[in-house]
């Protein structure tokens, strides 16, 4: 439990540099993470536009783009090698540098200390270091666009030998090295962050904040941080070994190959080893991306339904079950890779099993809405959008997790549809729900809800316009990662029409994000001042001023008396009771230690 240190306030930094730049305050670090990762996400969005322009209007010259991106274009036409760099960097930036960074670095930093009632992270200095190391990895990965041969082009999965042999693809030069180095640096940063999140969530809880009273956001972030700590080092090892293969002649992943007539004398390396290491991180990674979003969505739905989250205990157990299973499903990315097919059956079982806790969570969200008194704030709209995309994208996982069906659908647009909807849009909707919900707490100002609603509708309708038709392309077996499709008779002309419509939808959705950008910047400067508790929430962060001062709380730490979801308690004067309100009229009796109990309180009012 947290130590009450009155000194915390005395240490408030005074200079601009220590207060806003080299800050050790978790809220400033959260803001730094959020701004940096939004920027990275925006870069990745622009990359997807360039891809969609090529796919919608194949090889149609746009001279302006030659001027804007001279390295990627020739005579206004995207070069095929640039297309591969685009898919690689779009995926890498989105998955790691945007989604993972904003969810853990942004929301983890903002919410964990505030929601457990701590003054800051357990290790504020390591926390600051984590951000600056993250920033370094961003600079390295962005720099790779400007080196000879361009950015890495072996896909975000960086499968060797393509990523291991310089001659194999233009981006396999310095671009691939920088990709590997940036990933290694990113992992160092994420480990520093993860240690903080776990320690803070476990050890810095204020009085009364038993594990059974933690908001689901903290549960999700805690479990996610543990996932990251266990999974990321596998990719770190992989990145180091691949660099050795590339430069020091080792043969971990690259066997004896002959590329373009040139003998590359490696000995006994196995490309599948990389796939195992990559997906040992890569699959937990998609849950690293989705679990915090699930936590955010649970919180936003409960608050705006004015109703306790349905089945709190089962929600916690589902998060744990998903996290555990996520470690033993990685082989479903490798059903047709040459991995022993018997091993494939084991991965099939675990993969389809993970659908059970996912289904439980989905039904529990719907049950939370049921008989609620729904407020359609922008955050709520995005949270409901999350449930929709999670269902749509999750169900297609049942096709791909079943190896015979996977034979036909893997490496087609069906996969692109699946992971973009469930993991991409799922995370993004969670992120937007979180940003609209907690922006007032972080920046002390309200976002425009009117612009927010426009942003939501364009995005929600638009992403289905982009990603749903990709299922049709998948049914038609159109392969992914293709620069063009001419010359293939099995692909009907309809496919090009679908590609064109997808591209139009993608440009619209992209433009809608500019709306968000405007709202974000404008509201930050001129938005109306936010009250402490604009959404009438129950959790601790709403008891602090908006934005909370250095040290978060006044001289006394908050004391928790009840679980996080006392909404619409019968007989209560308001439709919410903050966690700090003592249990009246029963004399206050802290039963905080009763674990994942029925909300962990003896609330007389709801009996």
């Amino acid at each position: 439990m947290a130590h009450e240190t009155a000194q915390t306030h005395l240490h408030e930094p005074r200079s601009f540099w220590t207060r806003y730049i080299f800050s050790q305050d978790h809220k400033i670090i959260a803001a730094q993470y959020i701004l940096t990762s939004l920027f990275m996400g925006f870069v990745a969005l622009v990359l997807s536009w360039l891809m969609r322009l090529q796919l919608g209007w194949p090889e149609h010259p746009i001279p302006l783009l030659s001027k804007l991106f001279p390295g990627l274009y020739q005579d206004g036409v995207l070069k095929p090698e640039s297309y591969l760099a685009l898919i690689t960097m779009h995926g890498t930036l989105m998955v790691f540098f945007f989604i993972t960074a904003i969810l853990l670095g942004g929301f983890g930093n903002l919410l964990i200390p505030l929601q457990v009632g701590a003054r800051d992270m357990a290790y504020p200095f390591v926390n600051m270091l984590s951000y600056w190391v993250f920033l370094l990895s961003c600079i390295v990965i962005l720099a790779s666009f400007f080196v000879t041969g361009g950015a890495a082009a072996a896909g975000w999965t960086a499968y060797p030998p393509l990523s291991g042999v310089q001659k194999a693809v233009p981006g396999s030069g310095l671009g691939q090295d920088l990709w590997l180095i940036a990933m290694a640096i990113f992992i160092v940063s994420s480990v520093m962050g993860g240690l903080n999140y776990v320690t803070t969530a476990l050890n810095m809880r204020t009085r009364g904040m038993s594990m059974g009273r933690l908001p689901l956001t903290v549960w999700a972030l805690l479990i996610t941080a543990i996932l990251g700590l266990l999974a990321f080092p596998a990719l770190f090892a992989g990145a180091v070994l691949l660099l050795l293969d590339r430069h020091l002649g080792t043969s971990f992943f690259v066997p004896y190959v002959v590329v373009g007539g040139e003998h590359i004398p490696h000995e006994g390396g196995n490309p599948l080893l990389w796939q195992h290491l990559f997906w040992f991180l890569g699959h937990p990674e998609v849950y690293i991306a989705i679990l915090p979003a699930m936590g955010i969505v649970s919180e936003v739905i409960s608050t705006n339904a004015r109703k306790p989250i349905f089945g709190y205990r089962v929600m916690v157990l589902s998060i744990c079950a998903i996290a555990f299973l996520s470690f033993i499903v990685w082989g479903h990315h490798m059903f047709i890779s040459g991995m022993n097919p018997y091993l494939g059956t084991a991965f099939m079982v675990t993969t389809l099993l993970i659908a059970v806790p996912s289904a439980i969570k989905t039904f529990n969200w719907v049950a939370t809405l049921w008989r609620g008194n729904l407020r359609f704030t922008t955050a709520m709209l995005f949270a409901i959008g999350f449930v929709s995309v999670f269902v749509t994208g999750g169900l297609t996982g049942i096709f791909l997790g079943n190896p015979p069906v996977d034979i036909q659908l893997t490496d087609t647009y069906f996969v692109v549809a699946h992971f973009h909807i469930v993991m991409g849009m799922g995370s993004v909707f969670g992120i937007f729900a979180g940003l609209y919900h907690w922006f007032p707490k972080l920046f002390g100002r309200m976002l425009s809800e009117r612009l927010g609603r426009w942003h939501f509708w364009l995005t929600f309708v638009g992403v289905y316009g982009i990603f749903f038709p990709m299922h049709y392309l998948g049914f038609l077996n159109v392969p992914r990662r293709y620069y063009g499709f001419s010359g293939y008779d099995f692909i009907p002309p309809d496919a090009q029409t679908i590609q064109l419509l997808i591209s139009i939808a993608a440009l619209i959705v992209g433009a809608a994000q500019l709306l968000f950008l405007y709202n974000f910047i404008h509201s930050w400067i001129r938005g109306p001042k936010a009250p402490a508790n604009p959404w009438q929430g129950t959790t601790l962060e709403w008891q602090a001023p908006s934005p909370p001062p250095h040290g978060n709380w006044g001289p006394e730490l908050p004391v928790v008396h009840r679980w996080a979801y006392d909404y619409s308690v019968p007989g209560a004067p308001e439709d919410y009771i903050p966690q700090t309100v003592p249990l009246e009229p029963v004399p206050v009796e802290d039963r905080g230690g009763d674990g994942v109990g029925s909300g962990g309180n003896g609330n007389a009012l709801d009996r």
Binding site: P80, E81, L84, Y159, P161, L162, A168, V169, V254, P255, Y256, V257, V258, H263, N270, P271, L272, K307, F310, G311, V314, G338, Y342, M348, V349, L352, L353, A355, I360, F363, N364, V366, A367, L369, N373, R375, F376, T377, T392, L395, I398, F399, N402, P404, Q408, D411, T412, R453, W457, Y464, Y472, L476, N477, P479, G484, Y488, F490, Y565, Y567, D575
Partner: protein
């Protein structure tokens, strides 16, 4: 703050989305390429069953979601119900998905193991070689045995690095990448051994429901029985570099007699090198 009209709009949109999604998929306008293999029929069946099950769940959950956001749209005069959990309901949506998924696991697992059974002894054997960005082929010849290969022996003349010392190599028939066509018999099990010279590739024949990666340094395998004669396209389904999207190959399924006649006309390793 309640914005009840948003609830109406959201419910309506979700309802329309489900309608469009279900109708567009059910129309069958965009469907798998025509089927032409034995195991492919079982794959297509499992695919269709999965589509039906997930389609029902998709419509059901979205229906509940649409109804909820419309029906329970807020109003300051109302209070939400205070419901924390409901054991029977939660058990239901744990057990029912678990049963459905178990059924899918069992049928999928059986089919998968069936597809990956060891090839029958009388199967037609062929090797497919992938290199940037073309397909090469090798037949074992009359002895049914492939000659040994070693990537160190690869030259322009000997593109697969066949060990000419190996007697089994003498009657092998090979087509360097991009210089031949894959001829295979209909209605007879075919074992395709897959090998890559440079990077990963994936041997994808959409109509045959065949997709298997080629991995340098190891040999992978796929067994299938084609059910229709004709020309088929091979595509590469694993990112292999700059020309990945151009790595198209041709495969002809012909009668057993035609294939044997065609093979008899081809030059062997002995014809080329001795």
């Amino acid at each position: 703050m309640f914005h009840p009209r948003q609830g109406v709009a959201l419910g309506l949109f979700i309802f329309l989305f489900v309608l469009v999604a279900v109708l567009s998929v059910a129309s069958g306008r965009w469907w798998l390429p025509p089927l032409a293999s034995v195991h492919g029929a079982a794959i297509d069946r499992l695919f269709t069953v999965t589509l039906l099950i997930t389609g029902v769940v998709f419509a059901l959950v979205h229906g509940l979601l649409a109804y909820s956001v419309w029906r329970f749209r807020g109003d300051p005069s109302r209070r939400a119900a205070h419901i924390r959990e409901h054991r029977a309901l939660e058990l239901t949506w744990t057990v029912v998905p678990a049963i459905i998924l178990t059924a899918l696991i069992v049928s999928g697992g059986q089919l998968w193991l069936q597809i990956h059974r060891p090839p029958p002894a009388d199967a037609f054997v062929v090797e497919v070689w992938g290199e940037q960005f073309k397909w090469g082929f090798r037949y074992p010849g009359a002895d049914g045995q492939f000659g040994r290969t070693d990537p160190r022996l690869i030259t322009d003349d000997n593109p697969f690095g066949i060990d000419l010392e190996d007697p089994a190599a003498r009657d092998d028939i090979f087509f360097p990448a991009g210089q031949g066509e894959l001829y295979l018999p209909v209605n007879r099990p075919v074992v395709v051994y897959l090998r890559a010279k440079d990077v990963l590739h994936s041997f994808f024949v959409p109509r045959l429901r065949v997709k298997q990666d080629l991995v340098p340094g190891m040999t992978t395998r796929f067994v299938f029985t084609a059910t229709e004669t004709g020309d088929y396209e091979i595509a590469c389904a694993e990112l292999c570099g700059l020309g990945h999207y151009t790595m198209r190959g041709l495969l002809t399924i012909a009668t057993e007699e035609e294939v044997q006649r065609w093979l008899a006309e081809q030059l062997t390793v002995a014809d080329l090198f001795f």
